[in-house]
């Protein structure tokens, strides 16, 4: 056998792997660690179930979410009486509804299934908006520093001082007021039409867009500042790497972990913002079901029919749990500084 053949054979025996192992892709590496984390897998599974629930809501929900059966107002199925024994003396039993019917006789279960649509839309659009604006803004500010940083951060500071939630309430209330007669053809009219067509989601996105990216921008800037002075950046600069290359190739991979984690952990915040707005009657337009508005409706009868509050509240809490577990798992999987320490 020639020297060449021996070398090839050895290489094949080693599984084609060169002796010095190539560093794995950050994301492949992180994903492998993520699926080893039990809590994160549970969270991820719940999120996937929720997505399926939201997409196939018409197939899953046994009834219409808006059909009112006045004869079945506030009915409860028999099995619920063992969970809420206080309802025994007065409850009207109807086993047609899995979780009972609400104050106008709509199926609670179907409304909860459809409610996932609103919450999940917010859960995915919210991070998209804030990551896109916040990361770009923050990294430019942090990387260039000096006067650029100063001006950019002052702008963020000004916006930061804007009480976001109050502002969203203001926007929503003005565009939705029944007393307001908005003339067709004006800008306000087209905005409120668009909002109505999106089921009232437009202003929720506007509100999140206005308030969430600033936190992201600050975080990104802080992270960039902390990495910018490290030796490997200096090394990259000495070998003549361009600003863009340093930013995307050297800085971003080192700070993306905290950003993704922060954003995943911010998702429950977006979900609860939407739920709160719907709770005070400024979120999605009725009869589109949102867990927030269901909790609000249920809270009116919490003394007599607690099931009408408890189930949507549980749905909301479980969804937020799932995203938090997932965010936690991602943090452990992605945090580059905790790498190799396990």
């Amino acid at each position: 056998m020639s020297q060449e053949a021996i070398r090839l054979k050895e290489k094949a025996l080693a599984g084609g792997m060169p002796l010095t192992q190539k560093r794995e892709n950050l994301w492949v590496d992180a994903f492998r660690r993520l699926i080893r984390n039990r809590a994160a897998v549970v969270g991820g599974t719940i999120v996937i179930i929720l997505i399926i629930m939201a997409v196939f809501a018409p197939q899953i929900a046994p009834r219409s979410y808006e059909k009112q059966v006045l004869n079945d107002q506030n009915t409860v199925p028999a099995w619920l009486l063992s969970v809420f024994p206080t309802m025994k003396p007065y409850a009207r039993i109807s086993n047609d509804y899995l979780l009972g019917a609400d104050y106008v006789g709509r199926d609670l279960f179907s409304r909860i299934v459809y409610g996932a649509r609103v919450s999940l839309t917010v859960a995915f659009i919210g991070p998209l908006i804030s990551l896109l604006i916040g990361t770009i803004y923050g990294s430019i500010s942090g990387y260039f520093g000096g006067q650029v940083d100063n001006i950019m951060m002052r702008i963020v500071d000004v916006l930061y001082a804007f009480p976001g939630l109050l502002f969203i309430i203001l926007l929503l209330a003005f565009f939705r007021s029944t007393l307001t007669r908005i003339e067709p053809g004006t800008f306000a009219y087209s905005i409120s039409q668009l909002d109505a067509r999106l089921g009232g989601m437009l202003f929720i996105f506007v509100g999140i867009g206005l308030t969430a990216w600033e936190t992201m921008a600050r975080l990104t800037r802080g992270q960039v500042l902390s990495v910018r002075e490290k030796e490997f950046i200096e090394a990259a600069r000495t070998i003549g790497a361009s600003n863009l290359r340093i930013m995307f190739r050297h800085i971003l991979p080192n700070i993306i972990g905290p950003l993704v984690v922060a954003e995943t952990l911010a998702i429950p915040g977006y979900i609860s913002t939407e739920a709160f707005l719907s709770f005070i009657g400024l979120g999605v337009n009725p009869p589109t079901p949102s867990w927030g508005s269901m909790i609000s409706d249920g809270a009116q009868v919490i003394r007599t029919y607690p099931n009408q509050t408890v189930f949507p509240a549980l749905a909301l809490a479980i969804t937020m749990f799932a995203f938090n577990f997932l965010g936690d798992g991602l943090r452990d999987a992605l945090d580059p500084r905790l790498r190799g320490t396990q």
Partner: protein, 351 residues
């Protein structure tokens, strides 16, 4: 540092002007006015009302007049007239001269009150709720985070972080009704709605009596509001402390034979608190706006209820006043955070 603070205070003025301009512009850009009713008012009455509140003036004049009334302090020898148009938040006699500042104007919807009246009566309640919630957040959050980090990967760690995840996953509108149902309706331990503290207040907002009459109302709302923040603090404290105790200077401190307790308290804790301090600014903002939610859930007569009703009524002065006031809070909170940040980390210089 002094110069930095002075600069930030000037910047506060800029913020307030920007915020007031956006809010004012938005309020007037959207169709509809404060005196729109289901059945339109006769034009003469409408004209009279608009004249009374100067709504017939050009917009720029209304805006400048508002800025003048709110921001410019006045020194006069005249004593206050006590009318609705003449109510200043700060009104003190120094020598023979009155210093009068911050006239937010009369409320349109409750005709006998000024915005300042609403601030005086409702703001202390919101402030009490916010403070209690912040205390709950710190008292629960920091110890949980520290224990979890020091006993990493033990049952203490998992337990603390489970509590933290529960806390962060349960928003006020979930926890509030559940608490009301369990402790207010089923067990009847605590009153489901209302608020206990009554004026006069210490320092403008602290209740004078810290008895059960205050706490029985305050416990549920402040836990409902503070739990989420406590979870954030716990997780951040843990993450930060874990990172810190892997640093070289901690190894050095241990190597030179320092007691473990001192290593943690003197070296690790102080440095790991820095990220925790930075979150306090946004957290304060979340708590401040969170008081609105909590007040609505628990029926607490704070600013939240008045803000929501003022918006549906198009009560311009109340809307403007509330938003400006909260903007001031947020700016000052962030300033305090920055100062503490510089104090904790001497590498940070602001000048």
């Amino acid at each position: 540092m002094g110069r930095y603070i002075a600069r930030r205070l000037i910047y506060l003025i800029v913020v307030l002007i920007v915020v007031s301009f956006i809010t004012f512009g938005l309020m007037h850009a959207v169709p509809g006015g404060p005196f729109d009713r289901e059945k339109a008012l006769p034009p003469e009455i409408m004209a009279n009302l608009e004249k009374r509140y100067h709504l017939d003036d050009p917009l720029w004049k209304q805006y400048l007049q508002y800025l003048y009334d709110v921001f410019i302090p006045r020194l006069t020898t005249q004593s206050p007239k006590g009318t609705l148009e003449d109510d200043f938040l700060i009104s003190t006699k120094i020598g023979g001269v009155w210093l009068r500042w911050m006239n937010f104007g009369p409320s349109y919807s409750s005709r006998s009150r000024t915005v300042n009246d609403i601030f005086r009566q409702q703001l202390p309640i919101s402030a009490q709720l916010g403070t209690m919630a912040l205390l709950v957040a710190l008292i629960i959050g920091m110890p949980l985070g520290i224990i979890a980090a020091l006993k990493q990967n033990t049952v203490f760690d998992y337990l603390s972080m489970s509590i933290a995840i529960i806390g962060v996953s349960v928003p006020v509108i979930v926890l509030g009704p559940l608490l009301i149902w369990i402790f207010g309706v089923t067990l009847k331990w605590l009153p489901p709605t209302g608020w206990g503290a009554k004026p006069p207040y210490l320092l403008g907002f602290l209740p004078t009596k810290w008895g059960w009459d205050f706490f029985k109302f305050a416990i549920m709302p402040s836990v409902a509001l503070g739990l989420g923040s406590s979870a954030v603090i716990a997780r951040l404290t843990r993450a930060s402390l874990l990172q810190t105790i892997r640093e070289d200077y901690i190894r050095t401190a241990r190597a030179k034979g320092l007691q473990e307790r001192l290593v943690i308290t003197r070296h690790a804790l102080k440095n790991s608190l820095i990220p925790v301090v930075t979150i306090l600014g946004p957290m304060f903002a979340a708590l401040v706006t969170g008081t609105f939610v909590t007040e609505l859930v628990f029926g607490i007569p704070g600013m939240g209820k008045y803000f929501v009703t003022s918006i549906t009524n198009r009560d311009y002065p109340v809307i403007m006043g509330t938003i400006l006031l909260y903007a001031v809070f947020l700016v000052i909170a962030n300033l305090v955070v920055d100062i503490v940040y510089a104090y904790l980390d001497p590498r940070i210089r602001y000048d």
